[in-house]
Amino acid sequence: MEFLQPATWHEALEARAEHPEARPIFGGTDVMVELNFDRDRPGALLDLTRIPELSEWGEEDGMVRIGAGVSYARIIEEVGGRLPALAMASRTVGSPQIRNRGTVGGNLGTSSPAGDSLPPLYAAGAEVEVCSVRGVRRVSVEEFVRGPKRNALAGDELISAVVVPVARGPEQFSKIGTRNAMVIAVCSLAVSLDVERRKVRACIGSAGPIPIRAREAEGFIEGVLDEEGLWESRGEIGEEALGRFAELVREAARPIDDVRSTAEYRRHAVGVLARRELAWVWQEYRGGEAR
């Protein structure tokens, strides 16, 4: 095995192009588990932790650009005010030790359906910035994640950043697990309100082969909010509409039975999360506190 340790982004892209067999590594919280258990023997490790730009984030024109190497801990501390749902999801990842090392870039690289950063990124309409010696391209996160542990990266490409619109309204993320910390999601859901554009977004995690936008539920509730003039009046969403929204989110899930849960429970839980989270974001929009 080789250990490649480029000091600049340009060198990293050249190394990636020259060593298609290399496994990029940042926090190592996915890669090292594979190595320690002999499940992966890449020809080389391509360590990206020496490249300063990857650990930077910044805001421009209403977009937050988060370098692929920004840890969950830093997202919670530094970016949380701009991207509440991503911060909430980051807070549920592993333990302090994992959040200190793990990155959104690595979560995207792994593209697990249980990746906690993914539902908030889908709900926010995030784009993944991908680079190679051939140039830079941006792919919507929904196009980026292709299947369980599969994504749109070509052999010579690396993730440089994820670009996320600053929250345009209240957001929520909730995750079901068998304990409070250190669990992979049984299922999860991100819900966001785009107050300017009068949009509602909902994305289900860990209840399908990839995260799933609940588009019918989104369309339904947008219809209710428009027809009843609730954006203007800031009135309450009726019980029936909340219930129908939850049902549509539940129907959008494509869960399976596995060691962590039955499909039936996942479907049920996703519906419960949908109802609660919509109520929470709406309550916050109306001027109250969420919860």
Partner: protein
């Protein structure tokens, strides 16, 4: 490959490191620092917790080469001189050490918590230590130890 890093304030060099090796392996098997324990090798138990450039990490999940030129502090490096660090003392006094396997990891994680938050609530203690497993104590004594250490570190 060859590795050069600072461990507990001392520059150490090691030869013949395998490229896929973890920092934990380097600490234990090449440097003879047995404080950091190897229990799960998958980030689940926290018994290998160390500081890497001042950040609490699971050393089993850090590739050795990633620590090149960096500073590592292990449980062995917390106390100054021959005495125990106040966090270590608190663990002993509270009876939070039984078999002791998890203790070094808990001590480093507690040290990290108290350096960021000298007066943690019980909920904050639980959140901060959620990545450390103990099979013996039932955790109550560990909570006691952290509360005790917090009082001591404050004075």
């Amino acid at each position: 490959m060859r590795l050069r890093l600072e461990v507990n304030g001392e520059v150490r060099e090691v030869e013949g490191v395998w490229e896929g090796e973890s920092l934990l392996y380097v600490l234990r098997e090449r440097l003879g620092l047995y404080g950091s324990k190897n229990a799960c090798e998958q980030g689940e138990c926290g018994s290998c917790s160390v500081y890497l450039d001042g950040v609490l990490v699971c050393s089993c999940l850090v590739a050795a080469g990633q620590a090149e030129g960096r500073e590592v502090v292990t449980v062995e490096g917390l106390a100054e001189g021959d005495g125990l660090h106040p966090v270590q003392e608190a663990f002993v006094e509270a009876g939070a050490v039984q078999c002791g396997f998890c203790t070094p990891g808990f001590v480093v994680a507690t040290h990290d918590l108290l350096s960021r938050n000298p007066e943690p609530t019980d909920a904050e203690i639980r959140e901060a230590l959620a990545g450390n497993l103990c099979r013996c104590t039932g955790y109550e004594k560990i909570l006691d130890a952290v509360r005790r250490a917090a009082e001591r570190v404050r004075v």
